[in-house]
Symmetry: C2
Subunit: 420 residues, 2 copies
């Protein structure tokens, strides 16, 4: 683990984890599957350096404080404490992993506001519609996606413990945070975890220009003998809105191949794209990009796999019906998810599996690097590195998030002394 220790050690020593921490510089940033990540040695260093977020404008807050704050906000808006703790744990795990697009940044717009708008139910009622030895279908009745999904993966794990495999399909759920939270539950239980979810339409099929599919993550976690599991938590799109917003903040054009315009061509005009993604006049592309030549039809295929698995097993909504609007009015998103747990000890010893997985990952990292590249990563490594850094130094809070937090403190009359 020398490489990892070294990377973490590159953060200035002698720092303390103070919520009021300022003027900190940290390592080189690079994109993770979701968003932004604190690690060294990557491509685009000059660009990513521009993303360093720990400075006067972006003070850090400890994970503990963030989590406590989120619980208070969620209880304040009507969640039972137990449920608020689950939601906050999912969100703060994203912040810990450096997946800033899915952490506290979503607390107000995606959860708090939607609860207040009446399209997300703070009281989660889970109904088991159908159950077999290894399978179940549950209805979340538009409650909190995290609470529903944690229960769903617990059921899948419990079935896998008994029968070797388990799969739960979920209907009428809502945004469940990082998909990887649930697959980590499986890997922590000595299992392979798989999940996926549909999402509001934003991605066009190959040869198409209309936003039809979600960014639909297809996520896998597998235990290894290292300090972190193999953890692939990524959208099946080439990119996503959160990354485009980062370019907008820097007034830079986005790379070719992320977005297709109405004319079928790649678009890079960042600010206009953000507007047109909302109106449907631009669409995200699948992993592999715009053309069959670059493999876009494969990514589009995997996005469709997730769309089908998320909807067809539970008779739920799909494609345009997930937009969150009906007849011009906001309505629940009615998302569907699926959760799979595979018990490793039904096949082999857990230690043997972990060692093979670790051996594969170590061999990949040790393979010949491209000139100029300092290291090769495996999936989950950047999230692990970020977790070490953020556990120690806290989470940088940008300006628009500071505003959200201030508003929540005020609206709910909470007692927090944030440094902004």
């Amino acid at each position: 683990m020398n490489g990892i220790q070294e990377a973490v050690g590159s953060i200035p020593s002698g720092s303390t984890n103070r919520d009021t921490m300022k003027h900190r510089k940290c390592g080189v940033f690079s994109f993770s599957a979701y968003g932004i990540m604190v690690v060294r040695g990557s491509e685009n260093t000059s660009l990513e350096r521009g993303l360093a977020m720990t400075d006067q404008k972006n003070p850090r807050i400890s994970l503990e404080t963030l989590e406590r704050f989120m619980v208070d906000v969620l209880v304040g808006v009507g969640l039972p404490t137990e449920d608020a703790e689950i939601v906050a744990d999912v969100l703060v795990t994203a912040d810990k992993f450096g997946i800033d697009s899915h952490g506290i940044g979503r607390l107000k717009p995606i959860y708090y506001d939607r609860i207040k708008e009446g399209i997300l139910n703070p009281i989660t009622t889970i109904e088991v519609l159908r159950e077999g030895p290894t399978t179940a279908v549950i209805d979340g009745h538009h409650g909190m996606g995290h609470v529903i999904s944690k229960r769903a993966m617990e059921m899948a794990i419990s079935k896998a413990k008994e029968y070797g495999m388990g799969m739960v399909a979920v209907r009428n759920s809502s945004h469940y945070g990082i998909a990887g939270y649930y697959t980590l539950m499986a890997s922590n239980a000595g299992m392979i975890g798989i999940t996926g979810t549909n999402a509001r339409p934003s991605l066009a099929p190959t040869f198409g220009v209309e936003p039809m599919l979600g960014t639909n993550p297809l996520t896998f976690t597998m235990p290894s003998d290292e300090e972190f599991p193999f953890f692939l938590d990524c959208a099946t799109s080439a990119s996503q809105r959160g990354r485009i917003e980062v370019y907008a903040r820097m007034d830079k054009e986005i790379p070719e191949g992320w977005v297709v315009g109405n004319d079928g061509q790649s678009r890079t005009d960042t600010h206009a794209i953000l507007r047109d993604l909302t109106t449907g006049d631009a669409a995200l592309t699948p992993l592999g990009g715009l053309s069959e030549t670059s493999g876009g039809h494969k990514g589009y295929g995997y996005t469709t796999v997730v769309e089908i698995l998320s909807a067809a097993l539970q008779g739920g909504a799909f494609l345009h019906a997930l937009s969150g609007f009906k007849d011009g009015k906001k309505v629940p998103h009615a998302l569907g998810h699926f959760f799979i747990a595979i018990d490793i000890e039904s096949f082999t010893s857990l230690d043997a599996f972990k060692k093979t997985t670790g051996d594969i990952l170590r061999a990949l990292r040790a393979s010949k690097k491209a000139p100029g590249q300092e290291r090769i990563y495996t999936a989950g490594e950047k999230e692990y590195l970020a977790s070490l850094e953020r556990t120690k130094y806290g989470v940088p809070i940008g300006e628009s998030l500071q505003k959200d937090i201030r508003e929540l403190v005020q609206e709910l009359d909470l007692d927090y002394d944030f440094p902004f």
Copy 2:
């Protein structure tokens, strides 16, 4: 299905399925996930038109004749008739679907020659090493991958019928042909089918240049209410050797992003690439291409998922150990695969699942097309179109394949009157 009828109808009418057919012209070709496909309306039409293979040089042979010929060859080289029929059925299914890279073209180099070299066992012995309600590990003892894999998926389906899910991990297998053959078995049984396999190292990790991973397909099939299922059978690499060979035959440079050189840059010098892929001085890239910006780390992640699932559940070989060489000598490839079946009726009615799947696919196809695009496809559609065309007109046989076939006829003293 009008679009499909129309596409098939575009082949000159009045043709008959004669093995000696010559001078035929057919529709526009485009790439499928694996290789080449007979369909109209795609990108790169001028390039793909160059691939039209039904002409004087590429006479067509009927599927029935091809299959019978393959059975005879395989029996001739030592397979029991029953096993030869399985292998031939897998191979001819690839030819039927237009996946020419995985059909009769592989009969001699990948199966016949390897059996004669003593690194592939024509007598397949399947040993069940471990079995639970939903799981099993089987050892193929370096027999025929198709025979082993068909048995493995049958076991997974049988377990899923009883318990809702089934998964079988396979060790010491060999090249199993198109992955989709096995997932189609599941969808034909009213199930979701998933499979993957490792393969000899040819793909470099993101930021790396060394061939470490295989092109590792991750394949899904799901029943729909249409005439063909959702069928995503693709490698997790951006491209593959077979496609590069097509460019070589046309003396054209390959597109950017398919291959990485030792210098870490994209290479397009087709002929030199084919040499350097063999020596390890060039490597394929993952789906998403060379960089994290284009999403290559996601494709690399999925390739690694398949590598782990194919090896770690059965304690088998991985990465370099799959090269087929040891101490300069040819050895069995010792491939690993996994097969998953998920019983749909454990969740919902099969008809409801099929209708939702069909509705999703129809909506995708009916969505707004990019200017100049005639149609949007869904996964499995091109294979279906090819199967209609090839069932009617047979499979075009190129020059190097004609040579292989002539050699096999001669070596085994078979009685076939091929038109070449």
